[in-house]
Amino acid sequence: MASAETPAVPEAEAEAVVESTPPPPTEVEPPPETKTAGDSPSIDYLGLGEVVLRFLLFASAVVAVVVIVTSEQTKNSRPAKFNYSPALIYFVAAVSVLGLYSIITTLFSFYALILKPGFFPQVLSHFIIVDVLLLGIVSAATGSAGAIAYTGLKGNSHLGWGKVCAVYGKFCRYVGASVAVSLFASVVLAFLVLLSVYSLSKKIPK
Protein backbone atom coordinates (compact mmCIF):
# COMPACT_ATOMS: atom_id res chain seq x y z
CA MET A 1 0.00 0.00 0.00
CA ALA A 2 1.48 3.33 -1.02
CA SER A 3 1.83 5.74 1.87
CA ALA A 4 3.88 8.79 2.74
CA GLU A 5 7.57 8.16 3.23
CA THR A 6 8.01 9.40 6.78
CA PRO A 7 5.31 7.33 8.52
CA ALA A 8 6.29 4.28 6.46
CA VAL A 9 9.91 4.29 7.58
CA PRO A 10 9.40 3.97 11.33
CA GLU A 11 6.74 1.34 10.60
CA ALA A 12 9.23 -0.68 8.59
CA GLU A 13 11.78 -0.30 11.36
CA ALA A 14 9.28 -1.50 13.94
CA GLU A 15 8.42 -4.47 11.76
CA ALA A 16 12.09 -5.34 11.35
CA VAL A 17 12.63 -5.17 15.11
CA VAL A 18 9.69 -7.47 15.75
CA GLU A 19 10.75 -9.93 13.12
CA SER A 20 14.38 -10.14 14.17
CA THR A 21 13.74 -11.05 17.81
CA PRO A 22 12.72 -14.67 18.20
CA PRO A 23 9.40 -15.28 19.92
CA PRO A 24 9.88 -15.45 23.70
CA PRO A 25 10.05 -19.07 24.81
CA THR A 26 8.07 -18.34 27.94
CA GLU A 27 4.82 -19.48 26.40
CA VAL A 28 4.14 -22.98 27.52
CA GLU A 29 2.08 -25.02 25.16
CA PRO A 30 -1.20 -26.10 26.67
CA PRO A 31 -1.26 -29.83 27.25
CA PRO A 32 -2.87 -31.65 24.36
CA GLU A 33 -6.56 -32.34 24.96
CA THR A 34 -7.01 -35.85 26.14
CA LYS A 35 -9.28 -37.49 23.67
CA THR A 36 -11.19 -40.52 24.74
CA ALA A 37 -11.41 -43.29 22.24
CA GLY A 38 -14.23 -42.71 19.76
CA ASP A 39 -14.74 -39.03 20.66
CA SER A 40 -16.14 -37.47 17.48
CA PRO A 41 -15.27 -33.81 16.91
CA SER A 42 -18.27 -31.63 18.00
CA ILE A 43 -21.63 -33.20 17.16
CA ASP A 44 -23.56 -31.03 14.72
CA TYR A 45 -26.64 -30.57 16.87
CA LEU A 46 -28.43 -28.41 14.34
CA GLY A 47 -27.99 -30.92 11.54
CA LEU A 48 -29.03 -33.78 13.80
CA GLY A 49 -32.08 -31.81 14.96
CA GLU A 50 -33.01 -31.18 11.34
CA VAL A 51 -32.87 -34.88 10.46
CA VAL A 52 -34.92 -35.81 13.53
CA LEU A 53 -37.56 -33.15 12.83
CA ARG A 54 -37.85 -34.10 9.18
CA PHE A 55 -38.31 -37.74 10.08
CA LEU A 56 -40.94 -36.78 12.65
CA LEU A 57 -42.69 -34.80 9.91
CA PHE A 58 -42.64 -37.83 7.61
CA ALA A 59 -44.01 -40.09 10.34
CA SER A 60 -46.88 -37.76 11.23
CA ALA A 61 -47.76 -37.20 7.56
CA VAL A 62 -47.91 -40.95 6.96
CA VAL A 63 -50.03 -41.47 10.08
CA ALA A 64 -52.46 -38.71 9.08
CA VAL A 65 -52.94 -40.13 5.56
CA VAL A 66 -53.32 -43.72 6.72
CA VAL A 67 -55.82 -42.84 9.43
CA ILE A 68 -58.05 -40.82 7.14
CA VAL A 69 -57.92 -43.28 4.26
CA THR A 70 -59.03 -46.13 6.51
CA SER A 71 -61.84 -44.09 8.02
CA GLU A 72 -64.67 -45.49 5.94
CA GLN A 73 -67.82 -46.39 7.80
CA THR A 74 -71.17 -47.69 6.59
CA LYS A 75 -74.37 -47.19 8.51
CA ASN A 76 -77.85 -48.24 7.25
CA SER A 77 -76.23 -49.14 3.91
CA ARG A 78 -75.04 -45.51 3.51
CA PRO A 79 -71.26 -45.23 3.50
CA ALA A 80 -69.22 -42.29 4.70
CA LYS A 81 -65.86 -41.97 3.01
CA PHE A 82 -63.32 -39.20 2.89
CA ASN A 83 -63.75 -38.75 -0.86
CA TYR A 84 -67.34 -37.59 -0.45
CA SER A 85 -66.04 -34.19 0.63
CA PRO A 86 -63.77 -32.01 -1.56
CA ALA A 87 -62.17 -30.49 1.54
CA LEU A 88 -61.09 -33.92 2.77
CA ILE A 89 -59.81 -34.85 -0.69
CA TYR A 90 -57.64 -31.73 -0.68
CA PHE A 91 -56.49 -32.63 2.84
CA VAL A 92 -55.38 -36.10 1.77
CA ALA A 93 -53.62 -34.71 -1.30
CA ALA A 94 -51.77 -31.99 0.64
CA VAL A 95 -50.62 -34.30 3.44
CA SER A 96 -49.50 -36.92 0.91
CA VAL A 97 -47.37 -34.30 -0.84
CA LEU A 98 -45.97 -33.38 2.56
CA GLY A 99 -45.13 -37.01 3.27
CA LEU A 100 -43.37 -37.47 -0.06
CA TYR A 101 -41.42 -34.23 0.32
CA SER A 102 -40.43 -34.99 3.89
CA ILE A 103 -38.99 -38.43 3.13
CA ILE A 104 -36.91 -36.96 0.30
CA THR A 105 -35.57 -34.17 2.47
CA THR A 106 -34.98 -36.52 5.41
CA LEU A 107 -32.70 -38.60 3.20
CA PHE A 108 -30.96 -35.51 1.84
CA SER A 109 -30.29 -34.02 5.25
CA PHE A 110 -29.25 -37.40 6.64
CA TYR A 111 -26.64 -37.75 3.90
CA ALA A 112 -25.51 -34.17 4.49
CA LEU A 113 -25.04 -35.00 8.18
CA ILE A 114 -23.08 -38.19 7.54
CA LEU A 115 -21.03 -37.14 4.51
CA LYS A 116 -19.53 -34.05 6.09
CA PRO A 117 -18.71 -31.31 5.42
CA GLY A 118 -21.48 -29.60 3.52
CA PHE A 119 -22.22 -32.20 0.87
CA PHE A 120 -25.41 -30.53 -0.32
CA PRO A 121 -25.08 -27.02 1.06
CA GLN A 122 -27.03 -25.18 -1.62
CA VAL A 123 -29.78 -27.77 -1.83
CA LEU A 124 -30.39 -27.81 1.91
CA SER A 125 -30.68 -24.05 2.10
CA HIS A 126 -33.17 -24.11 -0.79
CA PHE A 127 -35.34 -26.66 1.02
CA ILE A 128 -36.34 -23.94 3.43
CA ILE A 129 -38.25 -22.12 0.67
CA VAL A 130 -40.30 -25.20 -0.14
CA ASP A 131 -40.74 -25.76 3.62
CA VAL A 132 -42.44 -22.39 4.01
CA LEU A 133 -44.65 -22.98 0.95
CA LEU A 134 -45.67 -26.38 2.25
CA LEU A 135 -46.41 -24.86 5.65
CA GLY A 136 -48.97 -22.65 3.95
CA ILE A 137 -50.49 -25.52 1.98
CA VAL A 138 -50.67 -27.92 4.92
CA SER A 139 -52.10 -25.21 7.20
CA ALA A 140 -54.85 -24.58 4.64
CA ALA A 141 -55.54 -28.31 4.46
CA THR A 142 -55.71 -28.59 8.26
CA GLY A 143 -58.04 -25.59 8.42
CA SER A 144 -60.34 -26.99 5.71
CA ALA A 145 -60.60 -30.46 7.18
CA GLY A 146 -60.96 -29.02 10.68
CA ALA A 147 -63.80 -26.74 9.57
CA ILE A 148 -65.65 -29.59 7.87
CA ALA A 149 -65.10 -31.89 10.86
CA TYR A 150 -66.29 -29.22 13.30
CA THR A 151 -69.39 -28.54 11.23
CA GLY A 152 -70.07 -32.27 11.07
CA LEU A 153 -69.70 -32.48 14.82
CA LYS A 154 -71.85 -29.54 15.84
CA GLY A 155 -74.13 -29.19 12.83
CA ASN A 156 -75.51 -25.82 11.88
CA SER A 157 -79.10 -25.07 12.83
CA HIS A 158 -79.16 -21.81 10.85
CA LEU A 159 -78.46 -23.58 7.58
CA GLY A 160 -80.25 -26.82 8.30
CA TRP A 161 -77.05 -28.90 8.34
CA GLY A 162 -77.48 -31.87 10.65
CA LYS A 163 -74.93 -33.36 13.01
CA VAL A 164 -73.27 -36.07 10.99
CA CYS A 165 -71.03 -37.33 13.77
CA ALA A 166 -73.97 -38.50 15.84
CA VAL A 167 -74.54 -41.15 13.17
CA TYR A 168 -71.02 -41.86 11.91
CA GLY A 169 -69.02 -42.10 15.12
CA LYS A 170 -65.95 -43.99 13.90
CA PHE A 171 -65.61 -41.87 10.76
CA CYS A 172 -65.66 -38.65 12.74
CA ARG A 173 -63.18 -39.95 15.32
CA TYR A 174 -60.74 -40.99 12.60
CA VAL A 175 -61.06 -37.69 10.73
CA GLY A 176 -60.61 -35.78 13.98
CA ALA A 177 -57.49 -37.76 14.86
CA SER A 178 -56.07 -37.21 11.38
CA VAL A 179 -56.64 -33.45 11.61
CA ALA A 180 -54.96 -33.37 15.04
CA VAL A 181 -51.91 -35.24 13.70
CA SER A 182 -51.65 -32.90 10.72
CA LEU A 183 -51.83 -29.94 13.10
CA PHE A 184 -48.85 -31.46 14.91
CA ALA A 185 -47.12 -31.88 11.52
CA SER A 186 -47.56 -28.21 10.68
CA VAL A 187 -46.14 -27.22 14.09
CA VAL A 188 -43.13 -29.46 13.41
CA LEU A 189 -42.77 -27.86 9.97
CA ALA A 190 -42.79 -24.39 11.55
CA PHE A 191 -40.08 -25.48 14.00
CA LEU A 192 -38.07 -26.85 11.09
CA VAL A 193 -38.19 -23.53 9.27
CA LEU A 194 -37.14 -21.74 12.45
CA LEU A 195 -34.27 -24.17 12.91
CA SER A 196 -33.08 -23.56 9.36
CA VAL A 197 -33.37 -19.78 9.81
CA TYR A 198 -31.43 -20.01 13.09
CA SER A 199 -28.65 -22.09 11.54
CA LEU A 200 -28.50 -19.66 8.61
CA SER A 201 -28.22 -16.71 10.96
CA LYS A 202 -25.46 -18.42 12.96
CA LYS A 203 -23.32 -18.68 9.84
CA ILE A 204 -23.27 -14.91 9.42
CA PRO A 205 -19.95 -13.54 10.72
CA LYS A 206 -20.69 -11.11 13.50
Partner: protein, 168 residues
Protein backbone atom coordinates in the same frame (compact mmCIF):
# COMPACT_ATOMS: atom_id res chain seq x y z
CA UNK B 1 -34.32 -4.39 1.54
CA UNK B 2 -36.02 -2.64 4.39
CA UNK B 3 -38.26 -0.63 2.09
CA UNK B 4 -39.52 -3.82 0.48
CA UNK B 5 -40.17 -5.26 3.95
CA UNK B 6 -42.20 -2.23 5.05
CA UNK B 7 -44.24 -2.16 1.81
CA UNK B 8 -45.09 -5.87 2.16
CA UNK B 9 -46.10 -5.38 5.78
CA UNK B 10 -48.33 -2.50 4.79
CA UNK B 11 -49.97 -4.66 2.12
CA UNK B 12 -50.49 -7.45 4.65
CA UNK B 13 -52.05 -4.95 7.07
CA UNK B 14 -54.36 -3.49 4.43
CA UNK B 15 -55.43 -6.81 2.93
CA UNK B 16 -56.13 -8.58 6.22
CA UNK B 17 -58.04 -5.57 7.53
CA UNK B 18 -60.12 -5.46 4.32
CA UNK B 19 -60.84 -9.19 4.47
CA UNK B 20 -61.93 -9.04 8.11
CA UNK B 21 -64.18 -6.04 7.46
CA UNK B 22 -65.69 -7.41 4.23
CA UNK B 23 -66.73 -10.62 5.94
CA UNK B 24 -67.59 -8.87 9.18
CA UNK B 25 -70.31 -6.78 7.56
CA UNK B 26 -71.66 -9.67 5.53
CA UNK B 27 -75.37 -10.03 6.12
CA UNK B 28 -78.26 -10.83 3.85
CA UNK B 29 -81.98 -11.10 4.39
CA UNK B 30 -84.16 -12.76 1.80
CA UNK B 31 -87.83 -13.55 1.83
CA UNK B 32 -88.23 -17.11 0.74
CA UNK B 33 -91.57 -18.69 -0.09
CA UNK B 34 -91.85 -21.64 2.25
CA UNK B 35 -94.62 -24.20 2.11
CA UNK B 36 -95.52 -24.89 5.72
CA UNK B 37 -98.85 -26.60 5.24
CA UNK B 38 -99.62 -28.32 1.92
CA UNK B 39 -103.10 -26.84 1.63
CA UNK B 40 -102.23 -23.18 2.15
CA UNK B 41 -100.27 -21.13 -0.41
CA UNK B 42 -96.57 -20.70 0.38
CA UNK B 43 -95.83 -18.12 3.06
CA UNK B 44 -93.07 -15.59 2.58
CA UNK B 45 -90.62 -16.19 5.40
CA UNK B 46 -87.74 -13.74 5.81
CA UNK B 47 -84.52 -15.68 6.22
CA UNK B 48 -81.40 -13.95 7.45
CA UNK B 49 -77.87 -15.11 6.91
CA UNK B 50 -75.13 -13.55 8.98
CA UNK B 51 -71.44 -14.29 9.00
CA UNK B 52 -71.35 -15.35 12.63
CA UNK B 53 -73.79 -18.18 12.02
CA UNK B 54 -70.85 -20.15 10.66
CA UNK B 55 -68.02 -20.89 13.08
CA UNK B 56 -65.50 -21.19 10.26
CA UNK B 57 -66.24 -17.59 9.28
CA UNK B 58 -65.84 -16.50 12.91
CA UNK B 59 -62.41 -18.16 12.94
CA UNK B 60 -61.60 -16.43 9.66
CA UNK B 61 -62.50 -12.96 10.94
CA UNK B 62 -60.60 -13.48 14.21
CA UNK B 63 -57.52 -14.79 12.38
CA UNK B 64 -57.51 -11.82 10.01
CA UNK B 65 -57.98 -9.39 12.89
CA UNK B 66 -55.00 -10.91 14.73
CA UNK B 67 -52.90 -10.78 11.55
CA UNK B 68 -53.87 -7.14 10.97
CA UNK B 69 -52.92 -6.17 14.52
CA UNK B 70 -49.61 -8.01 14.28
CA UNK B 71 -48.84 -6.41 10.90
CA UNK B 72 -49.35 -2.96 12.43
CA UNK B 73 -47.11 -3.71 15.42
CA UNK B 74 -44.37 -5.32 13.33
CA UNK B 75 -44.48 -2.47 10.80
CA UNK B 76 -43.79 0.01 13.57
CA UNK B 77 -41.12 -2.24 15.07
CA UNK B 78 -39.25 -2.74 11.81
CA UNK B 79 -39.31 0.97 11.10
CA UNK B 80 -37.89 1.78 14.52
CA UNK B 81 -35.32 -1.00 14.98
CA UNK B 82 -32.81 -1.42 12.21
CA UNK B 83 -31.54 -4.96 12.01
CA UNK B 84 -31.14 -5.89 15.65
CA UNK B 85 -30.78 -9.62 15.50
CA UNK B 86 -33.00 -10.66 18.42
CA UNK B 87 -35.98 -8.64 17.26
CA UNK B 88 -35.48 -9.82 13.67
CA UNK B 89 -35.62 -13.47 14.73
CA UNK B 90 -38.76 -12.82 16.80
CA UNK B 91 -40.41 -11.08 13.85
CA UNK B 92 -39.52 -13.94 11.50
CA UNK B 93 -41.03 -16.40 14.02
CA UNK B 94 -44.26 -14.45 14.30
CA UNK B 95 -44.43 -13.92 10.54
CA UNK B 96 -44.31 -17.69 10.18
CA UNK B 97 -47.07 -18.10 12.75
CA UNK B 98 -49.19 -15.57 10.84
CA UNK B 99 -48.60 -17.45 7.57
CA UNK B 100 -49.94 -20.64 9.13
CA UNK B 101 -52.86 -18.85 10.85
CA UNK B 102 -53.99 -16.94 7.77
CA UNK B 103 -53.68 -19.93 5.47
CA UNK B 104 -55.72 -22.07 7.83
CA UNK B 105 -58.36 -19.33 8.02
CA UNK B 106 -58.51 -19.21 4.23
CA UNK B 107 -58.78 -23.00 4.06
CA UNK B 108 -61.56 -23.16 6.65
CA UNK B 109 -63.66 -20.37 5.11
CA UNK B 110 -63.12 -21.73 1.61
CA UNK B 111 -64.14 -25.24 2.67
CA UNK B 112 -67.35 -24.02 4.30
CA UNK B 113 -67.98 -21.71 1.35
CA UNK B 114 -67.67 -24.55 -1.15
CA UNK B 115 -69.92 -26.67 1.06
CA UNK B 116 -72.53 -23.93 0.99
CA UNK B 117 -72.10 -23.50 -2.75
CA UNK B 118 -72.36 -27.12 -3.81
CA UNK B 119 -73.98 -28.80 -0.83
CA UNK B 120 -73.24 -32.38 0.01
CA UNK B 121 -75.85 -34.95 -0.87
CA UNK B 122 -74.15 -37.72 1.07
CA UNK B 123 -74.68 -36.02 4.43
CA UNK B 124 -77.87 -34.13 3.49
CA UNK B 125 -76.32 -30.68 3.72
CA UNK B 126 -78.23 -28.47 1.30
CA UNK B 127 -76.63 -25.78 -0.77
CA UNK B 128 -77.28 -22.33 0.54
CA UNK B 129 -75.70 -20.05 -2.04
CA UNK B 130 -78.50 -20.33 -4.56
CA UNK B 131 -80.67 -18.41 -2.08
CA UNK B 132 -78.09 -16.10 -0.50
CA UNK B 133 -76.13 -15.03 -3.55
CA UNK B 134 -74.75 -11.75 -2.27
CA UNK B 135 -73.70 -13.32 1.03
CA UNK B 136 -71.74 -16.03 -0.73
CA UNK B 137 -70.17 -13.63 -3.22
CA UNK B 138 -69.01 -11.31 -0.46
CA UNK B 139 -67.61 -14.24 1.51
CA UNK B 140 -65.74 -15.45 -1.58
CA UNK B 141 -64.28 -11.97 -2.07
CA UNK B 142 -63.15 -11.83 1.56
CA UNK B 143 -61.46 -15.23 1.22
CA UNK B 144 -59.65 -14.08 -1.90
CA UNK B 145 -58.42 -10.89 -0.21
CA UNK B 146 -57.20 -12.81 2.81
CA UNK B 147 -55.33 -15.19 0.52
CA UNK B 148 -53.49 -12.11 -0.73
CA UNK B 149 -52.63 -11.14 2.85
CA UNK B 150 -51.37 -14.67 3.52
CA UNK B 151 -49.23 -14.48 0.38
CA UNK B 152 -47.82 -11.15 1.60
CA UNK B 153 -46.76 -12.73 4.90
CA UNK B 154 -45.27 -15.66 2.97
CA UNK B 155 -43.25 -13.24 0.84
CA UNK B 156 -42.09 -11.51 4.03
CA UNK B 157 -40.69 -14.78 5.40
CA UNK B 158 -39.04 -15.60 2.07
CA UNK B 159 -37.56 -12.10 1.93
CA UNK B 160 -36.11 -12.49 5.41
CA UNK B 161 -34.60 -15.86 4.46
CA UNK B 162 -33.21 -14.36 1.25
CA UNK B 163 -31.60 -11.53 3.23
CA UNK B 164 -30.04 -13.97 5.70
CA UNK B 165 -28.78 -16.12 2.85
CA UNK B 166 -27.17 -13.15 1.12
CA UNK B 167 -25.47 -11.86 4.22
CA UNK B 168 -23.11 -14.83 4.59
Amino acid sequence: MMGCDAVLRFFALALSLTAAVVLGIDKETKTVPVVLVPDLPPMNVPLTSKWHYLSAFVFFVVANAIACGYAAISLILTLIMNGKKGITMMIIFFDLVMVALLFSGVGAAAAIGIMGYKGNSHVQWNKVCNVFEKFCAQAAAAVGISAGAAAAFLLLVLLAIFNLHNRH
